[in-house]
């Protein structure tokens, strides 16, 4: 972060190029004749801007060609209907030429886009053991699979924007032709007419999510801290039980859990969802693995300074594992936000948002549009959270491995 602090202010100086071990190896390989010297690397930013401008020009030309073709087809139609048109446009005979130009633009644009992507994605210096053709093959495969992965999501979004007649159109199109937000506004109308006001469902879900996540964070972090940093009798055994418990899904434990809840008189209260969420094994597991990476010297130093166990946990360990608690929060929010809790909560006023939305979704053909809107609303929340926290999550997951 503070490498360039010694440079006097006001003097614009280029960052010194680091000569890394990879560079040294590369030069060695060039000298030995193992690989060809890479040509002067292109300026990627400038290349990207140029490529973008060229692509925009191509798109604009395609639009113009489409427009002219449309106009000419219209004239053809009117002529064949027997109308008399006084002023024919100058290019009335050029329709086939426009079509040819459009075809060339499509093909050329595609090839150019592909070339630009490959150039931009190519690493500056090829790593050892990587061939150009292998990289190319992998890129092409990744692009194809990525499109296949994204297609259903794009489809979900686009069908929520379609008016009802386009939802039942044959043949169906991927993108809506007259996009509207009607489905969403209809959804809110339906929700506001329901027996229990919409805000109540929302409040229930928010309450469950916030309380459940917060409690889980504190309780599981406390347990993770002692499991990771102290060697006490029974600790290892307890952790290995938790690793096995990663496999218990809510389904296997669902039925006995129901019986236990009813014995504890927790059926039809929020605690039936919140208390099990406090003890979710995945959060404790990730937190413990991440905390093992903390230097033990840090804790010992605090001990020598006379800090108590709780003080160490709260003001030394917790601030240092921020990525892990963000990850915990996200996993917990995800499972609680999507919890329909249909089996443990009966009263309508205590149902969750997802449950209400699923009821609308189950409304049959007439609610197809609203169901698509529901789909988008429920999936957008976790995706957005992930987008903003990807770096922290990946940092935590790096320590997620199960050691023998």
């Amino acid at each position: 972060m503070s490498v360039n602090n010694n440079i006097p202010q006001g003097v614009p100086e280029k960052k010194p190029q680091k000569y890394t071990r990879a560079d040294a190896l590369h030069d060695q390989m060039v000298r030995l004749g193992e690989i060809q010297e890479v040509k002067e690397p292109i300026n990627k930013k400038r290349f990207a801007i140029t490529a973008l401008i060229i692509l925009l020009i191509i798109v604009a030309l395609v639009f113009v060609a489409n427009w002219r073709i449309g106009v000419l087809e219209d004239i053809q139609l009117r002529l064949s209907n027997g109308e008399v048109i006084n002023e024919l446009p100058f290019d009335s005979e050029y329709a086939p030429i426009y079509r040819l130009i459009r075809l060339i633009l499509y093909v050329g644009g595609g090839i150019f886009l592909f070339y630009a992507l490959i150039t931009l994605l190519a690493p500056k210096r090829r790593k050892p053991n990587r061939s150009f053709w292998g990289d190319l093959g992998i890129y092409i495969m990744l692009i194809i699979i990525a499109v296949a992965m994204v297609f259903p999501l794009v489809f979900a979004v686009s069908s929520s924007l379609k008016p009802l007649d386009e939802l039942f159109r044959f043949p169906p199109r991927i993108f809506p032709q007259r996009p509207t937000l009607d489905n969403f506004s209809d959804l809110f109308v339906t929700l506001s007419q329901s027996y229990v006001p919409f805000s109540r469902y929302l409040l229930n879900t928010v309450f469950i999510t916030v309380v459940g996540t917060f409690g889980h964070l504190i309780i599981a972090s406390m347990a993770a801290f002692v499991l990771a940093k102290y060697d006490f009798p029974g600790g290892k055994t307890f952790f290995s039980i938790i690793v096995t418990a990663l496999m218990f899904s809510g389904y296997v434990t669902g039925i006995p859990n129901y019986v236990i809840m009813s014995r504890l008189h927790m059926i039809d209260t929020f605690w039936a969802i919140i208390l099990p969420a406090f003890a979710a094994p995945i959060g404790l597991f990730l937190m413990k693995q991440f905390m093992e990476g903390l230097p033990t010297a840090l804790i010992e130093a605090a001990h020598l300074d006379g800090a108590g166990e709780f003080r160490i946990f709260w003001s030394i360990v917790m601030p240092n594992v921020k990525p892990a608690w963000l990850t915990m929060i996200i996993f917990s929010v995800q499972s609680l936000w999507n919890n329909s809790a249909a089996t443990v909560i009966y009263s309508e006023a205590k149902k969750t948002l997802v449950y209400a939305l699923q009821q609308i979704q189950a409304g049959g053909i007439a609610r197809t549009g609203q169901a698509a809107a529901v789909q988008v609303i429920t999936m957008i929340v976790p995706i957005l959270i992930f987008v903003f926290s990807q770096r922290n999550i990946l940092e935590t997951m790096a320590s997620s491995g199960l050691k023998d």
Partner: protein, 311 residues
């Protein structure tokens, strides 16, 4: 002889006393562990134990449980044909989606790892999004049974079929559709763990490997990457076993509940049927116990298999 055994017992005693002393000194650790341990015991360990106990009883919530011995298991295996269908379906789904999903998520994580920073972040999002969004209901529209469904309309237009197929009601097609939907969502927590783990592999190992005569990416994968990824591979295996056997939401949403001819019945949906529709808790507990045993055994087998990787 006696002196040796006396010595042994003295040693054992010492060890136990030492353990107790240590526990006493570390009692604050137990204090930290206590809240979690109580909740974990109540909602994860106790259910498993009571589930095993109830599986030997007849229990319908209203009356107290009545001990019936192995009757539930006998009925399950000898009389319940639907359960056999469920086991068969679950095994088909697990055997296909488990290994394929696991291998694919590792391969894609490995390919993505080669990309520069920003394309990598986007690629991770694209591959992980289906599993967090859990938007499997989209497949209801894509595979809709009438001509407005996507697949049907494409096949109709190209003339492969002459009338729309009922992808989600025809027993012939239900299982493949469900498998596709599950595979689509299989890049989950394990995938993230792989991506993160690959970032952490020591770069100098690859250079050393190059100097030592590794000549292509596959050799590099086998000799360097896989051995250093072993912890993540074990974690990913646990995750994919869990998701491969606990198939419930996808078949319920796509094929309906109950599905035509029980073609999409899995062990978990069978469990739900007996547990929450018929309230035969004893019988449902027997199903849960069997599922649990299958998963534990599978996990043990895969862990021992993975320990051999790259060594």
């Amino acid at each position: 002889m006696t002196s040796i055994s006396n010595e042994y017992w003295a040693m054992r005693k010492d060890k136990i006393r030492y353990g107790f002393d240590k526990a006493k000194r570390m009692r604050v650790c137990y204090l930290f562990l206590l809240p979690y341990a109580i909740l974990f015991f109540t909602f994860f360990i106790l259910p498993i134990c009571t589930s095993i106990y109830y599986s030997f009883t007849y229990y319908n919530i209203l009356e107290p449980p009545r001990f019936v011995g192995m009757q539930n298991y006998v009925n399950l295996f000898l009389q319940d044909e639907v359960f056999m269908t469920a086991v068969k379906n679950t095994l088909v789904i697990a055997v296909i989606t488990g290994p394929v999903g696991y291998i694919l998520s590792f391969l894609f994580a490995w390919f993505i790892n080669e990309l520069p920073k920003w394309p990598r972040a986007i690629a991770v999002l694209v591959f992980y999004a289906p599993s967090i969004a859990s938007a499997y209901s989209v497949f209801l529209i894509l595979f809709r049974g009438d001509a407005y469904g996507y697949l049907n309309s494409i096949l109709l237009q190209f003339g492969f079929i002459d009338s729309p197929r009922l992808w989600l009601s025809d027993p012939q097609y239900i299982l493949p559709v469900i498998i596709i939907a599950i595979l689509w969502m299989s890049m989950g927590t394990g995938f993230l763990s792989f991506v993160a783990g690959l970032q952490g592999v020591d770069k100098s190992m690859y250079e050393a490997g190059y100097v030592d005569g590794i000549r292509n990416r596959w050799q590099e994968l086998y000799h360097i990457t896989l051995p250093s990824m072993k912890p993540m591979l074990l974690f990913g295996a646990v995750m994919s076993i869990t998701s491969a056997f606990n198939v419930c939401d996808v078949p319920r949403a796509l094929a309906g509940y109950p599905s035509t001819d029980y073609a999409a019945r899995t062990i978990v949906t069978h469990l739900f049927d007996y547990g929450f529709s018929r309230f035969e808790m004893g019988y449902a507990s027997a199903i849960a116990t069997i599922l649990f045993l299958i998963m534990i055994l599978c996990n043990k087998a895969i862990q021992s298999l993975l320990r051999k990787v790259g060594t």
